[in-house]
């Protein structure tokens, strides 16, 4: 047999960082959520909830698909992944058909409200600075559009368009501090 001098031992892995153990995120259990809302807040939520209720008999129910909209309309900004998590990871077709009543909505909303790391103005600006090649406070609109449509929780083209309207200057650059203010001002 030929000497194995030059062959690297196949099995010996290159020293790489140990794979993190997959963190077992437990399924969302609404009954474990402690509601900390005041009665006034709950009335406010009811008000908004009703606004989105499209059932013919006004049963105070919304579809799973609307859940994210209502939570956002009330001022939170979860990711889509977080929404899916609190809804119990429903299938795509369930989003339009499965209904959520107000009482089931509350623990979901509470969980989202408690989540930390909402993203501050600085986080935002930091994130966008990545794209600031010239370091002059602007990013290329085209690049930003590309990123929004292809990374993360991708946005659709018309959504990107809507967001970016009137943000770019004549050179196609976006002043990102102003941009962040615009987005956060809702």
């Amino acid at each position: 047999m030929a000497p194995k001098k030059k062959e690297e031992p196949k099995e010996a892995p290159k020293p790489k960082a140990p794979e993190p153990e997959p963190v077992k995120i437990p399924e969302f259990n609404p009954t474990e959520v402690v509601l900390e809302f005041t009665p006034e807040q709950i009335e406010d939520f009811k008000d908004a909830f009703q606004l989105f209720d499209r059932t013919p008999l006004n049963e105070m129910k919304i579809t799973y698909g609307q859940c994210g909209d209502v939570i956002r309309a009330l001022g939170q900004n979860p990711t889509n992944a977080e929404i899916m998590y609190v809804l119990g990871k429903p299938k795509a077709e369930e989003m339009a058909t499965k209904m959520l009543d107000f009482d089931s909505f509350l623990p979901i909303h509470q969980h989202i409200c408690k989540a930390k790391d909402r993203g501050t103005y600085e986080d935002f600006v930091e994130g966008l600075r990545v794209f600031d090649k010239l370091g002059d406070g602007t990013v290329m609109g085209a690049e930003l559009r590309h990123v929004l449509a292809s990374l993360g929780e991708k946005m659709k083209e018309d959504e990107v368009e809507q967001l970016m309207t009137n943000q770019e200057d004549s050179n196609g650059c976006v002043n990102y501090e102003a941009f962040v203010k615009h987005v956060m001002a809702s």
Binding site: L51, T79, L128, K154
Partner: protein, 708 residues
């Protein structure tokens, strides 16, 4: 390890992660932003709809006032308000057809007139001339208007109540909904779809006039095309083709402003023409087109047989001061009323409504013929102390009249239902309390009617829809609405339907946009929302004393603050618009540091147009609230359209109005007010100036005006 590439790989990896994080952050915030925008759009829409329908309900109040005035006014003034009686009585035309025609031909048109000249029978060149003239803001002379109306009246007399059409081979019929005086929308439709012709037949489903500023131009065009192509043009009557509605919603005013000499004659003629418009159209015996809707009492065969021209108006005096409003929240896409037709929890209101009507049948809330006799039929009329109360003999007479009227009511149900009803999602048929007329009809009512007549589709209008059209009752009912930007710039699109042989509707949408093209979605929502919020603020201001009294009732510690819940409760109980008050709160009232509401702040932004010192806050408020009604009444009293009425007339009108409303107003206060408004002390009042003072304005507007 250690080689340069992996460092850059790591850097790259880190940058990618940061980029991804940034992207996710932006995406999250964007989705929040859009959701909040959607919420604002929804409540803006709710506000517009609520206020619109609440306003239409007030209409009943006005008509009951007319009958009251009619009963009592003649005792004060021997000559009587001839326009009122003319309007409420069936018109008996003393002139023959030929005489009228000659009379109009004798009207001279001045040399200086540069608009279109019409000769009859009309030709395409006339309609083209009208189109160009209106695009250039050139009006049509009164003489031609009268002649046009006269010819239209002659034509319509020959038409049946229900028009039967058939889809022409290889062509489509275009069906349009409410236009409400929006000429731009009509022109846009003609532009997109083609002018009416044998190739392009049209059906216009009512509500051509009121609210918009170009109702006159619209009916001129519609009637001209009707005369030109009577077989290819069909006009259905809408609930706004009604002189009482016109008095309130702007058409009458528009006519009087545009035609100073012939305005009255035109109005009387228009009234006749409106009452002669057909009430329904049927296509291929399969598609029914009416303006409002149907009810469980609709019978098309019966409908064909009634004498429609006798029904001048659906707004009849009934003595109701305030019909209960349906407590419901509007949704942009689904039927407006949450509790429409739902009996549980709402029966008390319905019952109250029914008893007020006395022995009226349950499926319609207001339906009396216009004959004067019926107007005496209001035993609960509040008579001002100086007038004699009805004797016992009269009361017996009243009762007999009631019985007769009851019989008339049942025959007139059909008419009202067709023009005023709205679909609802629950089964059954119930009175349309929100509108104050017509019914709410459920999917079962639709199915039954369509089945009975072998039809497959009901097309109606009457309700504004965000997309210009909406299907309901499982596709059996289509609502088509053709006035885009109805509530506000950018509020909704307009649409029309094209129907071919297969009777499968195709929808075409559009939106007239002078400025909207340049506005982003956010800006459009801001504009619409601003306008809606202002409308609500005006309402709050107009009910200030009632609201303050109720607020103070809850404010036991006299701190000027109450909880948000209490605030929302009070506002809803006074205004009864069924809006999401808590969500609207940030736009309407300020919070105190402890989270409660400083309720005075509701009224901060609004103020009177011009201060009038003699007016007490109470009086001012009443005037704000009824400003539109007063304007209408003054306009009627002003027989020579000079813009002035005598002080005595002013006083009497005001006394009557307050007696009717049951509002306590000090006679002396009115007298002083009248004297103070008579600026040049000649015994007459310029009521437009008077009313200007009682227009509620937003304080910011006033500032702008002062600076601008």
């Amino acid at each position: 390890m250690g080689c340069g590439t992996s460092v850059t790989t790591d850097n790259k990896g880190r940058r990618l992660t940061t980029a991804m994080k940034a992207a996710i952050l932006i995406q999250r915030w964007y989705r929040r932003y859009i959701a909040r925008l959607e919420m604002r759009q929804r409540y803006t829409w709710n506000i517009f709809q609520s206020i619109e329908y609440a306003g239409e309900q007030d209409q009943l109040q006005l008509s009951s006032f007319f009958s009251f005035m009619l009963d009592n006014f003649t005792q004060l003034n021997e000559n009587g308000p001839d326009l009122i009686s003319h309007l409420l009585d069936p018109v008996v035309d003393p002139w023959s057809d030929r005489e009228r025609q000659t009379k109009y031909e004798q009207i001279t048109v001045p040399e200086s007139y540069s608009g279109p000249h019409l000769t009859f029978p009309l030709t395409v060149s006339h309609t083209n001339a009208l189109l160009s003239a209106f695009k250039e803001q050139q009006p049509l002379h009164g003489r031609y208007m009268l002649q046009l109306l006269h010819q239209t009246k002659k034509l319509l007399k020959q038409m049946p109540n229900v028009i039967h059409l058939s889809t022409p081979y290889a062509k489509e019929i275009t069906i349009c909904g409410d236009l409400h005086g929006r000429l731009d929308d009509l022109l846009l439709i003609f532009y997109k779809n083609g002018l009416p012709s044998a190739e392009t037949p049209y059906v216009f489903n009512g509500d051509f006039v009121d609210r918009g500023k170009k109702s006159v131009e619209i009916i001129i065009l519609l009637f001209a095309y009707l005369l030109l192509y009577p077989d290819h043009m069909t006009l259905n009557r809408g609930n706004h083709e009604d002189h009482i509605m016109n008095l309130r919603y702007g058409f009458t005013k528009e006519v009087m402003q545009k035609y100073k000499t012939h305005g009255r004659d035109i109005l009387l003629l228009v009234q006749d023409v409106f009452s002669l418009l057909p009430i329904a159209t049927v296509i291929d015996n399969k598609v029914l087109i009416v303006h409002g809707g149907i009810s469980d009492m609709t019978d098309l065969d019966f409908l064909s047989s009634i004498e429609r021209h006798k029904v001048k108006t659906d707004c009849k005096p009934t003595g109701t001061v305030e019909s209960p409003r349906c407590r419901c929240r509007g949704q942009p896409e689904s039927p407006r009323c949450r509790s429409k037709g739902q009996d549980h929890g709402k029966t008390p209101k319905k019952r109250r409504h029914l008893t007020r009507q006395g022995s009226c049948s349950s499926s319609s809330s207001s339906s009396l013929c216009s004959p004067r006799g019926s107007s005496r039929l209001t035993p609960r009329c509040c008579l001002s102390p100086s007038m004699p109360s009805p004797t016992d003999a009269l009361q017996v007479f009243f009762l007999m009249m009631m019985i007769i009227i009851m019989m008339i009511i049942t025959t007139n149900n059909n008419n009202i239902d067709l023009l005023w009803s709205d679909p609802k999602s629950q089964p059954g048929c119930s009175p349309n309390t929100f509108r104050g007329g017509g019914s709410y009809f459920g999917p079962d009512v639709t199915s039954r009617l369509l089945e009975r007549h072998g039809m497959s589709l009901l097309i109606r209008s009457h309700e504004c829809k965000q997309e210009g059209y909406e299907l309901c009752h499982d596709g059996q009912v289509i609502t088509i609405f053709s006035a885009s930007n109805y509530y506000e710039e950018g509020s909704n699109r307009g649409a029309y339907i094209k129907l071919g042989r297969e009777l499968v509707p195709r929808f075409f949408q559009y939106q007239v946009s002078r400025n909207t093209r340049k506005l982003t979605l956010t800006q459009r929502v801001n504009v619409a929302e601003g306008s809606a919020v202002r409308a609500v603020q005006e309402k709050l201001f107009a009910h200030r004393s009632e609201l303050m009294a109720a607020f103070q009732h809850y404010d036991t510690s006299n701190s000027g603050c109450i909880s948000v819940s209490e605030w929302a409760l009070v506002v809803e109980s006074v205004l009864r618009l069924d809006l999401p008050w808590r969500t609207l709160r940030p736009r309407l009232a300020r919070l105190a540091p402890d989270g409660s509401i400083d309720y005075q702040s509701c009224f901060e932004d609004m103020g009177p147009g011009q201060p009038i010192p003699q007016v007490t806050p109470n009086l001012a408020e009443t005037l704000y609230r009824y400003r539109t009604d007063l304007e209408i009444i003054f306009n009627i009293m002003d027989k020579d359209h000079s813009g002035q009425i005598s002080i005595e007339e002013f006083r009497q009108t005001w006394r009557l109005f307050s007696a009717h409303l049951g509002v306590e107003v000090d006679d002396r206060a009115i007298d002083e007010l009248a004297k103070s408004i008579d600026f040049n002390k000649d015994g007459s009042i310029d009521f437009n100036e008077f009313l200007e003072a009682f227009r509620v304005v937003h304080k910011l507007d006033v500032k702008d005006q002062q600076q601008g």
